[in-house]
Symmetry: C2
């Protein structure tokens, strides 16, 4: 048999939990995904083919979503970053979502708990362009109100890291 006999696999089959070595590999690849398997293996204490095998598994399992070139927003003219809180009516929410997804300047859409409904991360080339986006938002049925937070400067911006952050002190068990 080559595959699982029972093909009841979830969307992202964990296939096994990540061990310490997987995390080390991820750590290196997050920093620089162009690292050769030779160096990769050397860094974590594995032979090149072994490293290759594990990375392949990490890709298959979905732990590595994609390998991407991270580009400088300034270099492509996206000088303005803003977070936009959106309040939607009853549940024109789904409708609004579909419309917002079409906007190329929207990088992230989250549904949040708190005094607002949705949270957008948005990049534009200018304040004018942001105004344009907001205008489009207000024209979207289901959108009740928005509140924008324009970023003055970014102090930290790091990708998702592997490695556990640990639990807070005193966890009380039932």
């Amino acid at each position: 048999m080559d595959q699982n006999t029972d093909d009841v696999r979830r969307k992202r089959p964990p296939e096994r939990d990540l061990d310490a070595m997987d995390r080390k590999l991820l750590g290196v690849l997050v920093e620089d995904a162009t690292t050769s398997y030779a160096e990769l293996g050397e860094r974590v204490g594995l032979s090149p083919p072994a490293a290759h095998e594990r990375v392949k598994r990490l890709r298959r399992s979905g732990a590595i979503r994609r390998v991407s070139a991270l580009i400088d927003p300034e270099a492509v003219g996206k000088t303005l970053l803003a977070f936009v809180h959106v309040d939607t009516t009853g549940w024109g929410k789904t409708q609004a979502l579909l419309a917002i997804e079409e906007c190329p300047e929207v990088e992230e859409i989250h549904s949040v708990a708190g005094d607002t409904c949705m949270l957008l991360k948005v990049r534009t080339e200018s304040t004018h362009a942001l105004e344009g986006l907001l205008a489009r938002l207000y024209d979207t049925p289901g959108v009740k109100a928005t509140r924008s937070y324009v970023v003055l400067s970014t102090y930290l911006e790091r990708p998702v890291q592997p490695g556990t952050t640990g639990d807070w002190p005193a966890v009380v068990k039932g």
Copy 2:
């Protein structure tokens, strides 16, 4: 001569504005940075070495900040995502910043204009861990108040794209 005779180079020397071909290359590399130069060239209409040359320039100029493996937060146990607004006193701000940067669960720190001072993007393994982080924040001198928006679900999450979004209609010139 091999290098520039005048070594007066800025941090990120634009070295020339990006043309349409550069943007196309970036577009491909953002989607999949493992694309071979052969295919890369084919996609944009260039020979492999030419594509290589341009990509090398994009890296040197800083337009490509890094090539990174994007990892699934769920896969490494970071199941909770939250945005935290932080209000700081007078200007204990700098002090607070330094402390916050040390927290590994903080992915982004922005200084924003609006009814709050700083905006944090935070990933933790649990609500407990978030509570722990907030506790640490409150213990930080200079931190006056925080407001958290816990993400219920993420609908869109895309990396920085090249390509211009255009200007909003009617730009009134002086």
